[in-house]
């Protein structure tokens, strides 16, 4: 996996992902079904991090392999996962990229 991420955003609402995300973003979400992967593909999300220790279901994993979207899982809550990435310099989709 060699993917450059410029922005990140957390959302469980897929329409918000479609409305606000910039291409090449990282999506943090608690939604583990196949729609998280389809939405990511449509919005050109580079990778998905499932928060709260959640793991995607089989349909989601199968589609992600097909569409070449890396899936990750983090044990922490949404707020903490976003906070950690933000404090390490990864900007949100509402900001200008630092890279």
């Amino acid at each position: 996996m060699n993917t450059e991420i410029k922005y990140a955003c957390g959302s469980d609402l897929m329409s918000d992902v479609l409305a606000y995300f910039k291409p090449g973003s990282l999506l943090l979400t608690g939604l583990t079904n196949i729609q998280s992967v389809r939405t990511a593909d449509i919005a050109e999300v580079k990778a998905i991090v499932y928060v709260r220790g959640k793991r995607p279901d089989k349909d989601a994993v199968d589609l992600a392999i097909k569409l070449n979207i890396p899936l990750l899982s983090a044990k922490c809550m949404m707020y903490e996962a976003c906070g950690l990435l933000y404090s390490h310099g990864l900007p949100g989709v509402g900001e200008k990229s630092k890279g």
């Binding site: 609402l13 329409s15 409305a19 291409p23 079904n33 389809r38 593909d41 449509i42 569409l67």
Partner: protein, 146 residues
């Protein structure tokens, strides 16, 4: 590769088929990428189509999506057989939603679907008949109007 010929394709969408919901839009996105359409246009078409497709899956019994590509524009027309929309003006407002719990569990039903389509389209049309169905027309221009 330049686009010389008109491409036309018709897709069926099945209501309540959440497993395949969105697959038509992904297919259209792949077609547009293959013929070399500009990536920001591909993304706009994909988002508008996906929202329209999800609306059929969530609310209607079935629907037909007609996709056409010409050198000037991309046209998406979605026609469904379903409950229709009583108050289109209200349905166009961000945040207004009649979604069920099942739809919300899928991550949809936040009341952003129709506004998202309009935002990504150059031309957007919607008409609906209660008890019959809804028609949505989307045009995204490939060339700037002169």
């Amino acid at each position: 590769m330049s686009v010389e010929n008109i491409l036309w394709e018709k897709f069926n969408i099945t209501g309540r088929d959440f497993k395949n919901a969105g697959s038509v839009s992904i297919k259209i996105k792949e077609i547009l990428k293959q013929v070399g359409i500009n990536s920001s246009i591909v993304r706009r078409v994909a988002i508008a189509t996906y929202e329209a497709e999800m609306n059929v899956v969530m609310y209607a019994n079935k629907g037909i999506l007609n996709f056409s590509l010409s050198p000037e524009k991309i046209e998406i027309n979605v026609e469904d057989e379903g409950p229709g929309i009583e108050d289109i003006e209200l349905a166009m407002q961000e945040g207004y939603s009649t979604a069920t719990e099942e739809m919300r569990e899928m991550g949809f039903g936040a009341g952003m679907g129709l506004p998202n389509i309009k935002k990504n389209a150059d031309e957007f049309e919607i008409s609906s008949e209660v008890g019959k169905g809804t028609k949505v027309g989307i045009i995204i221009n490939l060339k700037k109007e002169t």
